[in-house]
Subunit: 423 residues, 2 copies
């Protein structure tokens, strides 16, 4: 077993990890930037929305009784005494037989209790009768300072086409619960009740420590026996996807002082890639054990078996293998879960799952969790060769992955399995 | 129907819209910022990855033939002549009977063709024989300048535990296709082949024009007959979710000069909220018709029937109703689709769909598309009251929505329907 005294089960590793993860503290975030953030405490409205009765259709605000008996054959005259626009109410009390031309969203005039929609009204002006629509024309607005009459063609009942004060939100209602991942419309609701900021769990701060003296920084062409870092850009994007703010100042030399300094960075989580096994170059596990707690090292899974994690002070430390597929898998199983947890997000994978049938069997020994990259082809699940944990392109060719639990020997061809889709 | 000469079907509106939408031009994006961006052209590797044969396990690089016949009962001595580490190869040709201690990822020495894993080797030094593991200890490294011997306990076949040059990527392979929404691992692959930037479709630039003289800017407490803008924060978050860069400099007065100036903003898309109907305040449709093309105005759907769109110059203009539920629905049906299309993303909704049974019927007239907010309760679909297009909190209480097509009268209780989940 290459030097691991014993391997933890995935479940045991997760149990330790989940016990370490508690939500971070909160910060105020301007609403404009709060989409996708996690609310730290419930939002209760102090006010009614709307704060007044309002029209829900364009038409004429009336006392409903004024229209009693109106039909196209019994047109009842109404005296139009003014206009009500959104934000510009009609300011005096309405009397029986009067109407106020009103737009959707405008406050209902005092005394009115219904809106007669525009299509049930015929306008009459200068003795002539025309459709009300014809007057609704910005290029030739009616002269509303000169009241004129309309004819109601229909009866309207009290309350009709009126949105009551508080119909959207009644004061005292909790509109959003703590832990909510804020949707665009949530920001709208918060804005409507007068909030300019949202109290949110702060972003976890993640320090990326990419080690390996064979590595060239991203952006360099690989040459000779040097390879270009793949894990830095990948892990940074993964952590950001999961809500982290990533600090990745560059590659770190495989030297004790440099690695230790990085492990003690000002961060909630330190993710180390490379040097996490038990080879002679594997500084990081020794440093974590020496300066903190190396709680887990070696996990019964493939890939990613050399993964470790622990703590130094308040920092959670993840030691990911340098092989990029292992790094991705170990991130998904452990580091990503912790980042999401600290940030108040659900522990579960941010991947969509679909069920489909295997075109070929997947084998896996009892006692080990396998992370099998697969393609979806014509609705069937085609396992990719999983020979190399270093073959990162297998995860770009793959549509997703299938997990084989450690209590399973795998799945026969034709079995329906759950596929977690990368995108 | 309230002044619309005729309403377009949703399908006719989408047909016009889709014909307007072509991908924007490309820009170079640093890999570090390219997660979630859309690739504008395929990526082909100019080089093999890895560029050399490498060990895929820790152990001893050998000529496989040197181990022929080795078993625990027939231990074959090998002369350890040096070390190979990642980035630090063993530099001379290996001879039969020789071994080089090698770490995963290290280049295979010239002449070697297999790696004998560490667990199949017994170290012997100073005449004594100890497990190879014991020597793999950073705190007491073996003095490798003094070659020593090991005993092979097992035969290894040629090629075993060796990753061949090009096993990940062969030069000339297209590793990522144009249009790819870049995943974290894609950035890793691009980095590994030496790329520091990704050529991506640029972000659509969206100007938000929120009109309504009754509105107070987000962050203000509503008072009197003024309400606080909900659509600005909501639409900004929606457009950003779909990949846009949003310019939202503040509310715009319902005045022709102000609205026209905003409609002519330097943007790919202008989204106007409010004043899109046919009321006396509804400037925007008239201005679009006068200064460009008002292609669609009035759509047979609920909510959002007053929605319009068209063009002014190269800008696509969307006229969304001021009612926030209508604005959300019209964004999802039309503006969001255009933003995603310009940015090279799939036209389809970025919502997950699940199928579940209706607890109560949903009715809808033939000839109209309905957007019904629903909750998922105990696996059943509970339609929310959809009385008010102004009741934004219905979309925060809802888990998602069900679409009733214009060829349908709705669904009876118990029918299985597709629910699009907001989150």
């Amino acid at each position: 077993m290459q030097g691991f005294a014993r391997r933890h089960t995935v479940q045991a590793a997760l149990t330790w990890l989940d016990a370490q993860v508690t939500r971070l503290d909160a910060e105020d975030v301007p609403l404009r930037a709060a989409g996708g953030r996690v609310l730290s405490s419930p939002i209760t409205s102090a006010i009614d929305i709307p704060g007044f009765d309002r029209a829900t259709m364009d038409g004429y605000a009336v006392i409903a009784q004024s229209t009693e008996g109106a039909t196209p054959y019994n047109r009842i005259p109404l005296n139009v005494v003014g206009d009500a626009l959104p934000g510009a109410p009609f300011l005096r009390q309405l009397a029986p037989g009067e109407a106020v031309r009103i737009m959707t969203g405008a406050p209902m005039p005092d005394g009115s209790d219904a809106v007669l929609p525009a299509e049930f009204v015929e306008a009459c002006r200068d003795g002539s009768s025309t459709s009300a629509e014809a007057t609704v024309d910005r290029l030739d607005p009616p002269t509303l300072d000169q009241p004129c009459g309309v004819l109601a063609l229909s009866t309207v009942s009290p309350g009709k086409n009126v949105g009551r004060r508080g119909e959207d939100i009644v004061a005292g209602t909790t509109v959003l619960e703590a832990g909510r991942l804020l949707r665009p419309q949530d920001l709208g609701v918060m804005s409507s009740i007068g909030l300019g900021t949202a109290r949110c769990i702060r972003h976890p701060r993640v320090r990326l420590v990419i080690t390996g003296n064979e590595l060239l920084p991203s952006g360099s062409a690989p040459h000779g026996f040097h390879i270009t870092d793949a894990n830095g850009p990948m892990l940074a994007a993964l952590a950001e996807r999961d809500g982290a703010i990533v600090d990745f100042p560059g590659l770190v030399r495989d030297e004790a002082d440099a690695v230790l300094a990085a492990l003690q960075a000002d961060a909630d989580i330190v993710i180390v890639s490379g040097g996490s096994s038990v080879g002679i170059e594997d500084l990081a596990p020794m440093l974590v054990a020496r300066h903190g707690e190396l709680a887990v090292h070696g996990i019964a899974m493939r890939p990613s078996s050399p993964t470790g994690f622990g703590r130094i002070g308040n920092r959670l430390i993840f030691l990911l293998p340098g092989n990029p597929v292992s790094a991705l898998c170990a991130y998904d199983f452990f580091a990503g879960r912790a980042i999401r947890g600290l940030g108040g997000r659900p522990a579960q994978w941010p991947y969509r799952a679909v069920r489909a049938r295997l075109a070929r069997k997947i084998s896996s020994p009892i006692g080990r969790v396998d992370y099998a990259r697969v393609r979806l082809e014509d609705g069937h699940v085609e396992p990719l060769s999983i020979a190399g944990a270093s073959v990162l392109s297998s995860t770009t060719r793959a549509d997703g992955f299938v997990i084989v639990g450690d209590d399973s020997e795998g799945f026969p061809a034709g079995a329906e399995v759950e596929v977690w889709l990368y995108a």
